[in-house]
C-alpha cells in the first residue's frame, strides 16, 4: 500500500528517490567518519590532542583548519569526527569546530572535483579554498572568544578506557557515533527531499541572475539542497545564468551549513549549540565568500 502510494505520485516518488540518494550517498562517508572517530576514542585523549596542537589557541585553530585537508570525504563524516575531537570542549574545542568546517571543503578530492567542474576558471578553486578556510578559522576564533560550554547539551557516553580492551572501546565509539549521526541524517535527508519537491527551480534560476540577490538566493539554495561537497561544484557549474560570485557563495556555504548538517550538529552537540552555530556559520561563510570572491574573481 505504502509502495503504491509512492509509485502513484510523481512528487512522492521523486522525494523518495532524493531521500534515498542523500542517505545512501552519505553512508560510506559516515562509515569512514565513525571509523576515524572510533580510532580517536582509542588513541587520542584530549590531553594528547592538546599536546599536539600549538600552545596558543589562535594558532591551534589555524593548524586545525589546514589539517582539515587530510580527511578526504564530504561533510557527513566530519561531524562525528569533530564531536570526538571536541571532547569536553576546553582547549581543543575551537580547533575541533574549525576542523569540522574545513575538512569537507578543502580536502584534495573536493578541490579536484571543483577544478574539473570549472575547467575555464581555475581561480574558482583558489577562491573556494581560501573562503572556506577563512570561514572555518573565523568560526574557530569566534567559538574560543564567545562560545559557552553549557550550549553543548549532548555528551558522549563515558568510555571506560581503563577497564576495557582497545577493540571494545573502538567498536562502542563507532557504534554510538553511527547511530546518533545517522538518525539525524534521516531528518536532514527528509528535509532536503521535501524541499527538492516543494521549491520550484525557476524561482532560483530567475532570482539568482542578479548579483546581490544572487548571493542571498545561492546561499539559501546551498542550505536547502544539502548536496555532497564532492558534487556541489558540478551543480554550481551548471547554473550558468548565475554570475561566478554567487556560485562561489554556494560552494562555500554548502559544505559548512545545510539542513542535514544542522540536524546532525543538533544531534551530536545539542540544539542550543546548533541553533547558534549554524546561522552564524551561514553569515560568516557568505561574507567570506563575497570578500574572497571580490579579490580573486574580481566580482565577475
Amino acid at each position: 500500500m505504502l509502495r503504491n502510494a509512492v509509485f502513484g505520485s510523481a512528487a512522492l516518488s521523486t522525494a523518495g528517490t532524493v531521500f534515498c540518494g542523500v542517505f545512501v550517498q552519505a553512508v560510506p562517508f559516515l562509515a569512514l567518519g565513525v571509523v576515524v572517530s572510533g580510532l580517536i576514542a582509542v588513541f587520542v585523549s584530549p590531553e594528547r590532542l592538546a599536546r599536539w596542537l600549538p600552545r596558543r589557541p589562535a594558532v591551534a585553530v589555524v593548524a586545525a583548519g589546514v589539517g582539515g585537508a587530510a580527511l578526504p570525504g564530504c561533510e557527513c563524516g566530519s561531524v562525528p569526527v569533530a564531536r570526538r575531537l571536541f571532547g569536553e570542549g576546553g582547549a581543543t574545542g575551537a580547533a575541533a569546530l574549525t576542523f569540522m568546517l574545513a575538512a569537507p571543503a578543502i580536502n584534495p578530492v573536493v578541490l579536484v572535483a571543483t577544478a574539473v567542474a570549472f575547467p575555464g576558471a581555475p581561480r574558482m578553486v583558489v577562491a573556494r579554498m581560501g573562503a572556506s578556510l577563512l570561514t572555518a578559522v573565523i568560526m574557530g576564533w569566534a567559538w574560543s572568544r564567545w562560545g559557552r560550554p553549557e550550549w553543548i547539551t549532548r555528551q558522549l557516553p563515558p568510555s571506560g578506557v581503563q577497564t576495557q580492551s582497545r577493540w571494545v572501546v573502538f567498536a562502542e565509539a563507532a557504534r554510538h557515533d553511527f547511530l546518533q549521526a545517522a538518525s539525524y541524517l534521516v531528518v536532514g535527508a527528509a528535509a532536503a527531499a521535501a524541499l527538492h519537491v516543494v521549491v520550484p527551480r525557476w524561482v532560483f534560476e530567475h532570482l539568482a541572475a542578479h548579483l546581490i540577490l544572487g548571493v542571498v538566493v545561492m546561499a539559501a539554495l546551498a542550505v536547502v539542497l544539502a548536496l555532497c561537497s564532492e558534487a556541489d561544484a558540478f551543480v554550481a557549474a551548471s547554473m550558468t545564468m548565475v554570475p561566478l560570485l554567487p556560485r562561489l557563495v554556494f560552494l562555500v556555504v554548502g559544505p559548512a551549513v545545510d539542513v542535514k548538517l544542522f540536524a546532525m550538529q543538533a544531534g551530536m552537540f545539542g540544539r542550543a549549540f546548533a541553533a547558534r552555530f549554524a546561522p552564524t556559520t551561514l553569515l560568516v561563510a557568505t561574507a567570506s565568500a563575497c570578500a574572497v570572491g571580490l579579490v580573486v574573481l574580481g566580482g565577475g
Binding site: 545512501v24 553512508v27 563507532a174 539525524y184 551548471s238
Partner: protein, 242 residues
Amino acid sequence: MSRETENIVLLLVGISIAVITVSGAFTRYVKPGLLPWLAASALLLIALALVAIIGDIRRGGPRPSDHSEAHSHRTGIVWLLVVPILVLLVVAPPALRPSAAAPSVPAVSNVVLNRFPFAPLPPGSAPEVSLPEVLRREVQDSTGSLTNRSITVTGFVLNEAQGVDLGRIVIYCCAADAQLARLHLRGPAAPHAAGLPDNTWLRVEGQVKPLAGQPNYRMIPTLEATKVTRIDAPANPYDYPH
C-alpha cells in the same frame, strides 16, 4: 530505545545497504562508483552490530553504563533509522522520472566556458555517443566532430508541446544533484517516436543540426533522426559524466 533494539536497528541498516548493493538497486540513487564503498560500509555496520550483540550475550546483559539516565532519555531518535530501512527494503523508490518531476530537475547547461578539441568520435557509420556528450561536443568541441556525422544516441521520450524530445538524466554523485539533458527529435524518423508515451526508451540514429549563432545555455540541439528503435530500459538508468 533499549540497547538491544538499537543493535537490531544497526544490523538492519547494514542489511538494507547490503541488499541494495547486491541487487544493484543502489544505482537508482547514487553513482555506480560507490559500489565498493557501500559494500564495505554494509560489512562494517553489520560487524559493529554483531560485535555489540555477541559481546552483550557473553557479558550476560547490556553494558551497565547505558542504563544511566543521562544517556537513555535521548536515544528515541534512533527510531528514525527505521525510515530508511523501510524506504530502501519495502518501498524501494524508482529511478527519477524527469517528465513527471520536471520542475525539480534542472536542465543540463551547455555554457561555453572555453572551447577545446575533443577526442575524435569512435569509428563506424553511426557510433554510440551519450546524450550529455552530444551537448558538450556541440557547444565546446573546437573540432566540430558532430558536423555532418551520423551518431547513435540513447534516451527516453519526453513529449513536449512543440514535438518529441529525447532525454537522459545525469547524476554526479547522487539523485539529489540530478540534471536533465535533452535533444529535440526532428527529421524523417521523428514521427515514429511521436506517438510513444513518456519514458519509453529509444535508440536513435541521426545527425545533429548545427546550432545557429552563438551557443548559450538555453539552446537545445536538434537531432535529425533517420532511424528510431524502441529498446528496454538500460540497467543503469542515469548517465554519469565520470
